[in-house]
């Protein structure tokens, strides 16, 4: 049997995490097909066909697929799933919203948010916000798996030429209507994929003070993150939240400023390669995961930090 990967895209381009999901799916079975569902998504389908690990692309188009409504997507995938042993997609908000609808229709107990493929039916996944790792074996004949994109490397993105087949769309689900999407536009790297993330917490004391975080991030070409406390206090919008209920990030460098390090925040960043913590409370739990800790008042340390970075002038863009 083969693996069916659900591609995530914006009708023009593939979302970058699709490449990570392809890597994960290919570890379950090398006969990997990818389905792309959208409206006028031919360009994205072509890019999908160029991924060397993808053996076949199935393209499904209709106007009602324009906005990725799960109620419209699920029936198509359920029908296609007849021919596959595994259905796989990323465990981001797209996949989290969609996959359980497919799993329920297939009477499959879904395995969510895996971080490692041990074999075709056995996977490693974090539970309790990453405070424990469970090794689980799916006994269902069909597996529905969502994967944590940051735990898998992106696959090769060019050189392949898989055939693209068209499949029939399913009927529109009339009880759900898309109204609008407010995407936060930014010149900065995306939080989920940035090489450097600079995050602020409740210690920032106000939204205005987040300008200091912005200045540091500018120097390092970094994405801006925040703890849930900072988001809840209204210092910054929720799309910046790192943690169990926000984004999970794995940058080369994570700088936590004025963040105490609540369990739920650590769950979102403790796999980062190098962690720096700046906090005036020397007992703050963030120091237990930091490679480099600086016990200091952030309002004194950050201006100095910016100055030191200015001196370096060797920022990798």
């Amino acid at each position: 049997m083969s693996v069916l990967l659900i591609a995530e895209h914006n009708n023009k381009e593939l979302k970058s995490f699709t490449l990570n999901a392809v890597t994960a799916a290919s570890q379950m079975d090398s006969d990997l097909h990818a389905v792309i569902i959208g409206n006028n998504c031919g360009d994205a389908a072509k890019k999908l066909s160029e991924l060397p690990l993808v053996k076949k692309v199935i393209q499904v188009e209709a106007a009602h697929y324009e906005n990725f409504v799960a109620e419209n997507f699920a029936p198509v995938i359920v029908k296609l799933a007849e021919n596959y042993s595994h259905v796989v997609c990323s465990a981001n908000t797209f996949g989290k919203n969609l996959m359980p609808r497919i799993a329920a229709a297939l009477d499959t107990s879904q395995v969510s948010d895996i971080i490692k493929v041990i074999s075709a039916d056995t996977f490693l996944r974090p539970i309790y916000a990453g405070n424990a790792f469970a090794t689980v074996k799916s006994k269902d004949p069909k597996k529905c798996i969502t994967i944590r994109p940051t735990s898998f490397d992106p696959c090769e993105s060019s050189g392949g030429s898989a055939p693209i087949e068209k499949a029939e769309p399913s009927e529109e689900f009339n009880s759900t209507k898309f109204v609008k999407r407010e995407e936060i536009k930014s010149d900065r790297p995306e939080l989920g994929t940035a090489r450097v993330v600079v995050s602020g917490g409740r210690g920032m004391q106000s939204g205005d003070n987040f300008k200091l975080i912005t200045s540091v991030a500018d120097k390092l070409n970094a994405a801006i993150g925040a703890s849930r406390a900072a988001v809840d206090a209204g210092y910054i919008s929720n799309d910046h939240q790192v943690g169990q209920t926000g984004k999970v990030v794995v940058p080369d460098l994570y700088i936590a400023i004025g963040i105490s390090g609540a369990i739920q925040h650590l769950a979102g960043m403790k796999e980062s390669k190098v962690i720096v913590a700046i906090n005036k409370d020397g007992e703050a739990p963030i120091f237990s995961v930091a490679d480099y800790g600086l016990e200091a008042d952030l309002f004194e340390a950050l201006p100095q930090f910016i100055e030191e970075l200015n001196k370096l002038n060797t920022i990798q863009k």
Binding site: A104, V136, N174, V179, V231, Q244, L253, I275, L294, E308
Partner: protein
Amino acid sequence: MKILVAVKRVIDYNVQIRVKEDNTGVVTENVKMSTNPPDDNAIEEAVKIKESGKATEVVAVSVGEEKAQETVRKALAVGADRGILIKADGILEPLAVSKLLQKIVEKEKPDLVFMGKQAIDDDCNQTGQMLSAMLNWPQATFASKIEIKDKKLEVTREIDEGLETIEINIPAIVTCDLRLNEPRYASLPNIMKAKKKPIEQLNASDLGVDTSPRIEQIKVEEPPKRKAGIKVKSVAELVQKLKNEAKVI
């Protein structure tokens, strides 16, 4: 309008969990248990809708061992009118829980079903979507704002790219984000009153649902520990270390 709210009993979010020595799971004996945090938001939203006059009844339901009754009781103390406990032991996967909730929906015929977007123990994030698929109802997941408009709901959802607004017809399922509202605390008089509110008890087996797990839990382990780092004395030292030792700037 009637709102059914599903609540789950989990290890309190402030507890640092411990993995059992035999690697069969995490220690739950003598550990503080609470309502799954976003389920508190789900109850709060339902009660607010009732207080605004747009709903007539809020029913709280939980699936789990006998003690899950405490979680239902807590929902009653913050404003739910009555409770249902479906008793089931062992590991309950979202697929089984959804099937049990489907039975309750068929019996209770609510207009809306609310629950948290994810349980903080198994972190599955499946039950609302599965129930919605089983009922063929619309779903609004990760809701941070809900507006009732006649026989429709306008829901703002938190997605990776920002915010998305959808309009769904009632009946519908909504899974709630932590930012949907600020859950209230139960007052002492309301806790006393909740003791008199009815909780119907059912057994999962009586509902004709097979709850045996489809996923075998082979082992549960501690995640690899991060080795302790160092404290630096100054910003200059920090920058020097990042540049020359860690080589990340």
